[in-house]
């Protein structure tokens, strides 16, 4: 018997590393029970509204449950209480119809005011287009060349419990969306495939991103900081793995960042002209693959049988180059899960990832694809 317990403890002990991973989170963040007050005027108003309704409900609850528990305590048969026989009163029914209606009117007034405020998306200082993809976000700073994707940066090994989980597990991205504080920012939402929802609790902004339609919302952030959120509309397999990180910075810092990003975009256009050697393309391709392809086709290129085809030994990756280019640039006509990566990735990235796919996982095609090939392919269409 003792031996059995020993074994059980040994088993528990080996499972402890994974378990203790989250024991290190700051005490203040754990056991959170309420909505955040956030960092904008709207988020604070929303919080106040939430608390107002909450306390009204508590007050009603105390009265109703109070009467009920009093009655359950006093009016029992075991205490010899004899039942009264009253069973209707129009006056009482009217009272408990009219009073709740008045309370509702009281609730509706501040709610309506807040809603008008939230809907006032006019006269923004800057516009950011947010596009939901399965399973990442794309940000376009309208009126500039700055445009990038924002992917989950938590390593897969943390999700699979092979490494201890970091402080911002599942709430961290490779490229946060950078915004200035004190400015009215208007977000325009749409999606490329299915419906997503962009939600950052600290900004009290949640809006659906719907393919083919554009929604808007606005925010004005008071203090610099990093604010984290997640996709809030079920959008398929990795719905739980497409976080949002907003980095609010002072205006000068924002301007500097924007200029730097614009310069990078210009440089990227130059790179398209350059010729890379195989090793460079293969190394870059591996990174692009892991960021964009591995979620479905798996890091080992084996895919998921019945759902996502393998890259290893696939007809596309080991067949004519044109078909491969077409698949990556335009997506699959048969399976919408295979997106068109042409508009999503740079020519350099597409050239690299195709080179990688044709030469990794035992695919030994030996050919390389240059960025300019991609550009030509796109121009031919």
């Amino acid at each position: 018997m003792l031996k059995g317990f020993d074994r059980l403890f040994a088993l528990l002990a080996t499972s402890l590393p994974a378990y203790s991973a989250f024991a290190e989170v700051e005490g203040a963040e754990r056991w959170g029970v309420n909505m955040t007050q956030g960092v904008t005027e709207v988020s604070r108003t929303t919080y106040d509204l939430h608390m107002l309704i909450f306390w009204i409900c508590v007050a009603i609850g105390v009265v109703v449950f109070g009467v009920m528990f009093y009655s359950m305590w006093r009016h029992r048969k075991s205490k010899g209480y004899r039942a009264a026989q009253f069973h209707e009163s129009t006056a009482v029914e009217l009272v408990w119809t009219i009073i709740p209606t008045l309370i509702l009117v009281l609730m509706a007034i501040p709610a309506t005011k807040t809603l008008y405020d939230i809907y006032d998306t006019g006269e923004a200082d800057l516009d950011i287009m947010v596009t939901g993809y399965q399973w990442k976000w794309k940000y376009d700073y309208l009126g500039t060349d700055v445009s990038f994707f924002s992917n989950l940066s938590t390593p897969r090994s943390q999700v699979d419990n092979q490494l201890p989980k970091g402080e911002n597990y599942l709430l961290e991205v490779d490229e946060p969306v950078v915004v200035p504080v004190g400015k009215k920012i208007r977000f325009l939402f749409t999606a490329n495939d299915v419906i997503h929802a962009w939600w950052v609790p600290d900004l009290a902004v949640k809006k659906d991103a719907i393919p083919g339609f554009i929604n808007d919302a606005w925010t004005r952030i008071d203090e610099p900081g990093i604010y984290r959120g997640q996709c809030a509309e079920l959008c398929g397999k990795d719905h739980g793995f497409m976080p949002i990180v907003v980095k609010a910075v002072p205006e000068q810092e924002y301007d500097a960042w924007l200029n730097e990003r614009a310069a990078q975009a210009a440089k990227m256009r130059e790179l398209t002209e350059k010729t890379f050697d195989f090793d460079e393309l293969f190394a870059m391709g591996e990174k692009v693959y892991n960021r964009n392809c591995a979620a479905c086709h798996q890091p080992n290129g084996q895919g998921v049988p019945g759902t996502f085809p393998a890259i290893a030994g696939s007809q596309v990756a080991t067949g004519p180059l044109d078909k491969h280019l077409n698949m990556v640039v335009n997506g699959s006509s048969k399976n919408p899960a295979m997106q068109a990566f042409g508009p999503q990735l740079s020519e350099v990235d597409i050239a690299a990832v195709i080179t990688y796919q044709r030469n990794a996982f035992g695919n030994e095609m030996g050919d390389t694809v240059q960025p300019v090939d991609i550009l030509n392919f796109k121009n031919k269409q």
């Binding site: 991973a21 989250f22 989170v25 056991w31 029970v33 309420n34 955040t36 929303t46 509204l49 309704i53 909450f54 409900c57 449950f65 009467v67 009920m68 009655s71 359950m72 029992r76 048969k77 075991s78 209480y81 004899r82 039942a83 026989q85 069973h87 009163s89 119809t97 709740p100 509702l104 709610a111 309506t112 809603l115 939230i118 809907y119 999700v159 419990n161 911002n168 599942l170 939402f189 495939d193 299915v194 419906i195 929802a197 609790p201 009290a204 902004v205 949640k206 659906d208 393919p211 083919g212 339609f213 809030a232 079920l234 959008c235 398929g236 397999k237 739980g240 793995f241 759902t307 919408p336």
Partner: protein, 516 residues
């Protein structure tokens, strides 16, 4: 045997007897309850701690989808139809349902519908994985091939529900004993009559929306695809035009059951009978004009947002009237706390808590923070589990002695109640917290700050699951034997069902009773 049931399996296959069909509905729904419950336990086991341990996201999404579909269409709705079959003829003094052959048919297509739905788990690409609300285009262009089977099984379930509803309306309107005027009917009959109208109104809408999906998937239409000129949000409008009345379909009969049980154990007539009827009718009417409160974040114009907010808040009024009436019925009664009463009281308390969170969700600007979080999951489980499930359980304990002629084991019933009550609150109350703290629903893995409450919720879920085994054991034992029940069973309960023998004979009220 001239008036008794046929022996063997053919009794159940060919039966047109409302009691047999009622029993089959109840056993079927309990089986589905266990199946859907096991899926919930897979979900809770995966969410016990952060990281992916037991299942992968693809399968997790299939579990949340199937859990919802099976609980809504397989567990709750057939259980209420089962209770209606058993009790409505006996409550109104009718010999059987008005359309007994259709009654048989509407039950027997259900096992096939659910066998087909469950079989999708074994298909290539897996079962439906787009949530029980199956929003397009995730459920059309991006759906697994098994979606076609899902659509067909929804059609069969819808046909079954519509036939059941027609039968109930025909029975109530045509087969009441002389003197049983509408305003003398027990509230369970009233609430079911109104529910049946809701079913007939909205199940065809559900059939319509899944047919539009089928057309989009196989026949080249673009109802829900913007690329072809359609609108993904149209799906949500049509779905919730069905979906919101649907949630009242799952709660109105519960109101009826509780309105029967509380007066019996308070030994005092129901307070405000006619206001209960009017409140039920008002709730049913309002249920048709509030659907878009499920869609506050889709980007409606502010006028739409305000309309649906105000209309939704209004539902609090008739619902409040009901709660106040139940509390007043208890007030100055002479109460005892047998198992049905315990479940009924828990219903009133916990359903009211679910109503409070519902009122909070109605406030559109605050809903922007609540929408699609665990706060919503907590809300609808608080209205569905203590609402629908507890009331069905209460009804089973209340009428089981009448059905079987035997008393159930009271101690075991109380053990069941307390396990279920504690388990339910431990499971679902912490979900309010993680939802407000920012945890989205339908995610297989979560950020570390949500870990503690998720762990507690998972423990509660297994406790709640264990409680149902006590229930099953108690019911089976009662069916097999036990202390004999009197004809009245309880202390002077109201209603025609208590005037017949226990167990109720195979045919009751072959001649109509006299109604005072």
């Amino acid at each position: 045997m001239a008036h008794g049931p046929k022996p063997g399996f053919s009794r159940w296959l060919y039966t047109t007897n409302h009691k047999d069909i009622g029993s089959m509905y109840l056993w079927f729904s309990f089986a589905m309850f266990l199946l859907g419950g096991c899926m919930a336990l897979v979900i809770r086991a995966e969410l016990f701690e952060p990281g992916l341990q037991i299942v992968q996201p693809e399968f997790f999404n299939q579990m949340t989808t199937m859990h919802g579909l099976i609980m809504v269409f397989g567990a709750v709705m057939p259980a209420f139809v089962g209770l209606a079959n058993w009790m409505i003829p006996m409550m109104i003094g009718a010999p059987d349902m008005a359309l007994p052959r259709m009654n048989n048919w509407s039950f027997w297509i259900l096992p096939f519908a659910f066998a087909m739905l469950a079989s999708t788990l074994f298909m290539d690409g897996g079962a439906p994985n787009f949530g029980w609300t199956f929003y397009a285009p995730l459920s059309t262009e991006y759906a697994p091939p098994s979606t076609t089977f899902f659509i067909f099984s929804i059609h069969i379930m819808g046909a079954s529900s519509i036939m059941g509803a027609i039968n109930i309306i025909a029975t109530i309107l045509n087969m009441r004993a002389p003197g049983m005027t509408l305003m003398k009917m027990p509230l369970f009959v009233w609430t079911w009559l109104i529910t049946a109208y809701l079913l007939i109104a909205v199940m065809p809408v559900l059939a319509g929306v899944v047919t539009m999906m089928l057309m989009d998937i196989h026949f080249g239409t673009s109802f829900f695809s913007a690329a072809g000129g359609g609108d993904p949000v149209l799906f949500q409008h049509v779905f919730w035009f069905f979906g919101h009345p649907e949630v009242y379909i799952m709660i109105l009969p519960a109101f009826g059951i509780v309105s029967a049980i509380i007066p019996t154990f308070a030994r005092k007539p129901l307070f405000g009978y006619s206001s209960m009827v009017y409140a039920t009718a008002s709730i049913a009417f309002l249920s048709f004009i509030v659907w878009a409160h499920h869609m506050f974040t889709v980007g409606m114009p502010i006028a739409g947002e305000l309309f649906f907010m105000y209309a939704t808040m209004l539902i609090a009024v008739p619902t409040g009237v009901k709660v106040f009436n139940w509390v007043t019925t208890m007030f100055r009664g002479s109460m005892t706390f047998e198992t049905p009463m315990l479940f009924a009281i828990a219903f009133v308390i916990l359903f009211t808590i679910g109503g409070f969170s519902g009122l909070m969700l109605a406030i559109a600007p605050a809903d922007f923070q609540y929408h699609d979080t665990y706060f919503v999951v907590a809300h609808f489980h608080y209205v569905l589990v203590p609402g629908a499930i507890f009331s069905i359980t209460a009804g089973v304990y209340y009428w089981l002695p009448k059905w079987t002629g035997n008393m159930y084991n009271e101690t075991m019933g109380k053990v069941h109640f307390w396990l279920a009550f504690v388990g339910l609150n431990v499971t679902f109350f912490p979900m309010h917290f993680v939802g407000l703290a920012g945890m989205p629903r339908r995610i297989p893995d979560y950020a570390l700050q949500f870990a503690d409450f998720n762990q507690i919720a998972s423990v509660g879920a297994f406790l709640f699951g264990a409680a149902q085994i006590v229930f099953l054991f108690n019911v089976v034992r009662t069916v097999m034997g036990g202390k004999k029940a009197t004809d009245e069973v309880w202390d002077d309960p109201e209603g025609l069902e208590w005037t017949v023998a226990s167990p109720a004979p195979y045919h009751t009220f072959s001649t109509p009773p006299a109604v005072r």
